[in-house]
Amino acid sequence: MTTIATSPRKVAIICSHGGLDEVYPALILANAARQSDIEAMIFFTFWGLDAITESKVDHLHMNLAGNAANTMPTVIAGLPGMESMAAKMMLKQMAELDIPGVREMLKILEESGADLYACELAMKMFKREKTDLIPEVKGVITAGDFYDLSVGAQIIFT
């Protein structure tokens, strides 16, 4: 962590959605920042909490219904099982490109020095405890704490 203090740049990423396709951008951006010697932190809030929740991280789905970029009609996309099917297809494609899964990405991020935080209010709302989260999470913080920690950072909302 001592090296991070000397870094001239810093990004603070807010991850507020729990879809597979909504979590990855935050993870990849944070990872790319660390690879480029940029200090990085991710603040998981609302549905984004699912990405760092032990029981959910391996079962993130892809939101098909209401997604304008999805060519499937909403009537069909809303059928049961469609989301998990789409998520499976997406994960398969990512595996072909050698993109690590969400759990592995979070581990890589933690190892590369990115800080992962959970939102305290969202934790209360979803009735989750710190023990429900994956071990890579550094802490449960408030929105105020987030601002204290992100001093000098560029804030990215996903």
Partner: protein, 328 residues
């Protein structure tokens, strides 16, 4: 009269017979009556004509006035002014150019005045004449209207028209954009091909850019060295800090570069650097962090400890290979 008096003179001595005198007087009075009657008739005619003439004059005056009001005279005056302005504004050269274009204009006019064209124009103008009574149509109305056979035909015609307008516009823009000699045949070739090759969903795609102009794919071969390079001790470095020629690398050079990046190379470091060099020589691409961790078995955390600042990039710099590409 004198002659007649003179002529009558010899008769004067003979006194007239009363019957003769009466006959003469009769004749005279008849003549007088005729004259009087004639005069009376003329007077009458004049008095009758006067209102008619007055009427005629009045009408003529109002007519002229109307013409003036309608602007005939003003128009004439203006027309003269226009002619004057035309002469002032256009040079003889302009007129000559116009003369050159006349053939084209006449050709176009002739094409436009073919009976078939005029018939269609006439039909269309009928609709335009009743434009004020047309009902507003929304998007659904449009869709409904497309079911009509005639509308479909009209759409086909309009699309054809659009296509030709577009083709003309492109030809002009290409001609203006230089290399007019080559641009036009290419256009004609495309027109002959019917544009079926690059078509998707009925939309004509722009022709693909030449291969060398396309952006490099994400995990492409070593990126080309940046234009600006720096030479340090006879070794060329690109603007991003990576060596331009990987084959010029030596172990000693690697150590020097590492020192510049505040890295003291240990056995662990060398293991990574050597892996990176071997990987590059094999794949012509610098390995990214994931490739290094998978290839050497080192953990991400350990890698970040060995090379704290941007590990993959630092390793590539020390190994004398280009900047790694990709997002992971």
């Amino acid at each position: 009269m004198e002659t007649s008096v003179g002529a009558m003179k010899p008769q004067k001595p003979e006194p007239l017979e009363p019957q003769q005198l009466v006959a003469r007087l009769d004749l005279l009075s008849a003549q007088l009556a005729f004259l009087v009657e004639k005069q009376r008739k003329q007077d009458e005619m004049l008095s009758e004509l006067a209102p008619v003439l007055k009427q005629v004059m009045a009408t003529a005056t109002t007519r002229l006035d109307e013409l003036e009001k309608k602007g005939y005279f003003a128009f004439g005056k203006e027309a003269l002014g226009v002619a004057q302005r035309v002469v002032e504004a256009y040079s003889a050269e302009d007129v000559r150019l116009l003369g050159n274009a006349v053939v084209g204009i006449v050709d176009t006019l002739r094409a436009l005045t073919q009976p078939e064209v005029l018939e269609i124009a006439g039909q269309a103008s009928e609709v335009l004449m009743h434009a004020d009574t047309a009902e507003p149509v929304g998007i659904f109305g449009m869709v409904r209207a497309t079911r009509d056979d005639e509308v479909q035909r009209g759409m086909a015609v309009m699309l054809g028209l659009l296509k030709h307008v577009g083709r003309g516009a492109r030809a002009i823009s290409e001609r203006k954009g230089g290399s007019s000699g080559t641009a036009r045949p290419v256009l004609r070739l495309e027109a002959n091909a019917g544009g079926t090759s690059g078509r998707a969903l009925g939309i004509q795609r722009a022709p693909a850019a030449p291969a060398e102009r396309r952006a490099p794919a994400c995990a492409a071969a070593p990126s080309k060295p940046a234009v600006a390079t720096t030479v340090i001790d006879g070794v060329e470095f690109a603007a991003d800090g990576h060596m331009v020629d990987a084959t010029a690398w030596t172990r000693a050079l690697g150590e020097n570069i590492a020192r510049l990046h505040a890295v003291v190379l240990t056995e662990e470091h060398w293991k990574i650097v050597e892996f990176a060099r071997a990987e590059f020589l094999e794949t012509k691409a610098s390995p990214n962090i994931r490739r290094i961790t998978q290839g050497t078995g080192i953990t991400t955390k350990a890698l970040y400890t060995l090379f704290p600042r941007a590990p993959a990039r630092t390793v590539a710099k020390i190994a004398g290979t280009p900047k790694p590409v990709g997002c992971l």
